[in-house]
């Protein structure tokens, strides 16, 4: 390993951060170029890290650590193990697509500097969340990520209700964060989680609520649908593609320290997750607005990922890893589809759309592949993850596994219904003048389509990175279960 490699993690955090400042300073027209350039460099840096990654090492690699706060003995330490690396890859892979997708939208062009600056700040914060090895550092990045996305939705969102919606979004997620903060301080004061079971329980649930709100797990999901629907497309992409992975990643990263509590409560938690799967799918089936439909489908998919995570088995966690990446790719693609439809027709209502396939075959083909990835057809990216997750839930509890498995059918129903109502049939007055993809739109959609197929065909190229960390994590948990009620 080269000498400079230890700074890669730090570089990946500082690069978007400096990009945020830079794109705020440069003249308005240049800021989107700067943002795209920075995100591409970040992606290149990530690939460098992938190339130099040691597959057998379970400790954080490319680690950087420095004393920071004396009054809590905190160090500023960041680093990437396999799990972190995949999440960093997801973030840095999606950001260039998100920036590219913003090139054609109208709303991002008023005050573009603000948007690109905030988006880069968001990227930096997320990389920080995914790489932090110190709880306090982690927490600061966790909250930092909230500010830019809040401002983006607030300023660029397209509904007069957005003030109320963003209040709910901000305050809801903040309540969870503050409870987690108290748990973090408590742990700092008394040196870790200790061996007292009652104490572990309170710490566990303090963390769990924060993560559950972020993911979101039923019944903490009520902020989600409205926020997704009324965000600007790029905001929805960031929220659905990257930000909700914060919750899942954090659950894997931090909750595995509580094996006893998990052993006692995992049935309840997984049941909640499965309720979320069914509930999300059920509501998605009756939605008339495309974005809302995607929001509820996201709730359903994330429910399955969360269920797999809380089995804390090897296959469940690995399935969660690959499914997080797949879901990120798919949801960004789907929101891109929604954005294109909206920019051409000014509506997202299924009842007002139809017949687009005749006007824009390339567009329809991309939509179809993304959609098939989302409903987990074999050879698309969704299949591998969904299969592993269902296996994990089935192994945990046959009943829950069966219920979760049935909902895969639901997901095919609502997704194909969306495709049928928008693309097939006869053209309506809204879709009569529908034009096919522009260049940047084509790059975004077909780039994502390529990823859908690539991951679907060779999933091991992703799974290999996290295999060592995950199996280490699971064996650690199994060894340290001490107390089962």
């Amino acid at each position: 390993m080269y000498q400079l490699d230890q700074y890669i993690t730090l570089f990946l955090i500082l690069l978007p951060l400096s990009g945020a400042v830079l794109s705020a300073i440069v003249p308005g027209k240049l800021s989107k170029i700067v943002a795209l350039l920075i995100s591409v460099i970040a992606l290149a840096g990530t690939f460098h890290a992938l190339n130099h990654f040691d597959f057998k090492e379970v400790n954080p690699q490319f680690a950087f650590s420095q004393p920071w706060l004396q009054f809590t003995n905190s160090r500023f330490s960041v680093g990437m193990d396999g799990l972190s690396l995949l999440m960093v890859l997801l973030t840095n892979l999606l950001m260039p697509f998100i920036f590219l997708s913003s090139f054609t939208t109208v709303r991002a062009t008023n005050r573009p500097k603000l948007f690109y600056s905030l988006a880069l700040l968001f990227q930096a914060a997320l990389i920080g969340v995914f790489t932090a090895s110190d709880l306090l550092v982690y927490y600061i990045f966790w909250e930092l990520a909230l500010i830019p996305i809040y401002l983006i939705i607030l300023y660029y969102g397209d509904n007069s209700n957005r003030i109320k919606i963003t209040y709910k979004f901000f305050l809801y997620t903040l309540i969870g964060s503050l409870i987690m903060l108290i748990a973090i301080i408590d742990m700092m004061m008394s040196g870790g989680i200790g061996s007292n079971y009652e104490r572990q329980c309170w710490l566990f649930f303090a963390f769990f609520i924060a993560f559950a709100i972020k993911m979101p797990i039923f019944p903490f999901h009520t902020w989600q649908a409205n926020t997704y629907t009324f965000s600007p497309s790029q905001g929805s992409m960031m929220l659905g593609g990257i930000m909700l992975k914060m919750g899942i990643y954090s659950a894997i990263r931090w909750l595995h320290f509580f094996p006893d509590v998990i052993a006692n409560y995992s049935t309840i938690i997984i049941t909640l997750c499965v309720i979320g799967i069914v509930y999300g799918a059920w509501i998605a089936m009756s939605q008339d607005t495309l974005k809302r439909l995607f929001a509820y489908s996201s709730l359903s998919h994330v429910g399955l990922i969360a269920a797999g995570v809380f089995t804390f088995s090897n296959i469940g966690l690995q399935g969660a890893n690959i499914q997080m990446i797949s879901h990120g790719i798919n949801i960004v693609g789907l929101f891109m589809v929604a954005q294109i439809i909206h920019s051409r027709t000014q509506t997202l209502r299924l009842s007002e759309l139809g017949g687009i396939i005749h006007k824009a075959p390339w567009f329809a083909a991309a939509f179809l592949i993304l959609l098939l990835g989302s409903i987990a057809l074999p050879l698309t990216n969704g299949f591998v993850g969904e299969f592993m997750l269902l296996k994990a839930v089935w192994d945990f509890n046959h009943m829950l596994g069966a219920i979760a498995g049935v909902t895969v059918i639901f997901s095919a129903i609502y997704m194909l219904r969306a495709f049928q109502l928008t693309m097939l049939g006869t053209a309506t007055e809204h879709t009569n003048n529908f034009t096919d993809l522009k260049l940047t739109e084509g790059i975004v959609l077909y780039g994502l389509v390529a990823l859908v197929i690539f991951i679907g065909v060779c999933p091991n190229s992703v799974l290999n990175y996290s295999a060592a960390s995950i199996s280490n994590l699971v064996s650690q948990m199994n060894n340290s279960v001490t107390y089962v009620k």
Binding site: Q70, I140, L146, I147, L154, I163, I185, M189
Partner: protein, 508 residues
């Protein structure tokens, strides 16, 4: 002590400059006086008390460069026969007040742009207030505490009414004066009672009285001493605008000229908490005495009243006044669980709060000047018109709300840390509930702070963009940068006071 003399001379110089119509001299004189005073104060920094954890702050070279004593002598720098004591605590609080005052002066020109012959009077009175504030954090004798509070208050009563043509300003002045005199009377009565019970007015004398009495088996504190303590606390809590002594705050904040409100919200808060913490820590022996229970309830009440009232305000200025009340509640949470680390935490919190307040009022000052109202809808569309002002206000709000990476986060963090630490040690279950209550209040607080942000980022209204002077912008950007820097490196502010010997108490 020299700092007070320098500032007094500055006051006289400004007044003469005003008399002889030399307006251009006023600001340079002020800056010179404040910097001189700051330098002499930092020169008295006791390096020996600051060993250990604090050795590596960026301030250390400054202390060393300005140091005027021989480096190894542990002298206690007391003045006026021990009535005042410039220990490290007093020095840092004083310097913090001076820095805030400097920022207030820098943005002052924006406020006084078109008028007026009274500028130098106002400036002189602000420095008088500052002198009172310095006395309030450096007293070692209750008489000096009283004189300090009076110096500060009387100047403030005039300042609150300094906008003579405005009815609200006059109202604010009268209200502040009447209620303030009451609280001074309470304080004075309390001092008299304590003197009657102990025969002492020096802080350490009271401390050893409490220590001796607690060691005597079966001894009960006389009622006159207990009531004296309560009365002194009332007098000081009034100045910190803690509930139920907060009623003056919103009216006075709203009525006073915004520049004076900025000053009140920052410098006066620092002085009040400096005074309160000093008497709790030194005289009442870290609150081992009954004070802790009182502060416990006052803290809870202050949080509740401040937050709930702030939510329903229509005027940004009143909202910020109530936010001051609620932030006082958080600081009282730390004071209710006072221990050796508390001075460092309180110092950090109150300075960061003061900077946030300066930033918020600084922006609000120019906005309300344009739209002639303090209501929230005056902020509408500011993000589109004035990105810089919007960014500054956003940083201020995030800091006041306690969201990282702004410094306000570590303020709240340290307060909670302090409380949880004590909670773990004492296992008083009541403290659990206060902490939970404080968290709920922190969330409520975030609501009304992001209301300001939401107002700026939405509802575009056609207005001209606001023009501001370079001096004003530089000053406010400096404040914002400080807020971010202190948020990234809280060490630099916390470490210098992380030391049990900051008050240079004689061992007992």
């Amino acid at each position: 002590m020299n700092a007070i003399l320098i500032l007094t001379v500055t006051v006289l110089a400004i007044l003469f400059a005003g008399v002889y119509q030399q307006k251009k001299l006023v600001l340079p004189l002020l800056i010179l006086g404040l910097l001189g005073a700051m330098a002499t104060l930092l020169g008295e920094w006791n390096l020996n008390a600051a060993e250990g954890i604090s050795s590596d702050t960026i301030l250390t070279p400054v202390f060393k460069a300005l140091h005027i004593q021989s480096p190894n002598s542990p002298i206690i720098t007391r003045y006026m026969k021990g009535m005042m004591q410039f220990d490290n605590y007093a020095i840092l609080f004083s310097v913090a007040m001076m820095i805030c005052t400097l920022f207030v002066f820098f943005i002052a020109r924006e406020y006084f742009i078109e008028d007026s012959p009274i500028i130098s009077d106002v400036y002189a009175l602000i420095v008088c207030t500052l002198i009172g504030g310095i006395m309030m954090v450096s007293y070692n004798h209750l008489a000096i505490l009283f004189i300090g509070i009076e110096t500060l208050s009387i100047a403030l009563y005039i300042l609150a009414g300094s906008n003579r043509m405005d009815l609200k300003s006059n109202e604010a002045s009268i209200k502040y004066f009447l209620l303030g005199s009451f609280s001074s009377a309470f304080l004075l009565m309390g001092i008299a009672f304590i003197y009657g019970a102990t025969g002492q007015m020096e802080l350490e004398g009271i401390r050893s009285y409490i220590a001796n009495s607690s060691n005597t088996p079966g001894y009960e504190f006389p009622i006159i001493f207990n009531s004296g303590v309560v009365l002194v606390l009332i007098g000081l809590l009034f100045k910190t605008s803690a509930a139920p002594f907060h009623f003056w705050a919103p009216d006075v904040y709203e009525g006073s000229p915004t520049l004076i409100t900025t000053f009140m919200g920052s410098v006066v808060k620092i002085a009040a908490f400096g005074a309160l913490l000093r008497i709790l820590y030194v005289a009442f022996d870290m609150g081992s005495f009954t004070t802790q229970n009182i502060l416990f309830f006052v803290s809870g009440l202050t949080l509740l009243v401040g937050n709930l009232s702030a939510v329903f305000q229509k005027s940004v200025k009143r909202m910020l006044a109530y936010s001051g009340v609620s932030n006082a509640g958080f600081m009282l949470l730390a004071l209710a669980s006072v221990n050796t680390n508390t001075p460092a935490y309180i110092f950090y919190y109150v300075l960061v709060y003061a900077l946030g307040t300066i930033l918020a009022f600084g922006v609000q000052m120019v906005v309300s000047k344009q739209v002639q109202t303090d209501d929230f809808n005056g902020l509408h569309g500011l993000a589109t018109r004035n990105p810089l002002l919007t960014g500054l206000m956003t940083i201020a709000m995030l800091s006041l709300a306690g969201i990282p990476p702004t410094a306000g986060f570590f303020g709240k963090f340290l307060v909670f840390k302090n409380a949880i630490q004590v909670d773990n040690l004492t296992s008083q279950s009541a403290f659990h509930y206060l902490i939970i209550f404080a968290i709920i209040n922190a969330v409520i607080g975030v609501y009304y702070y992001i209301r300001v942000i939401a107002a700026m980022f939405t509802n575009t209204v056609e207005r001209a963009s606001i023009k501001t002077s370079v001096q004003y912008r530089v000053a406010l950007i400096a404040v914002a940068v400080l807020i971010i820097l202190f948020g990234l490196y809280p060490n630099q502010l916390v470490n210098p006071l992380m030391d049990a010997s900051i008050f240079q108490l004689s061992a007992n």
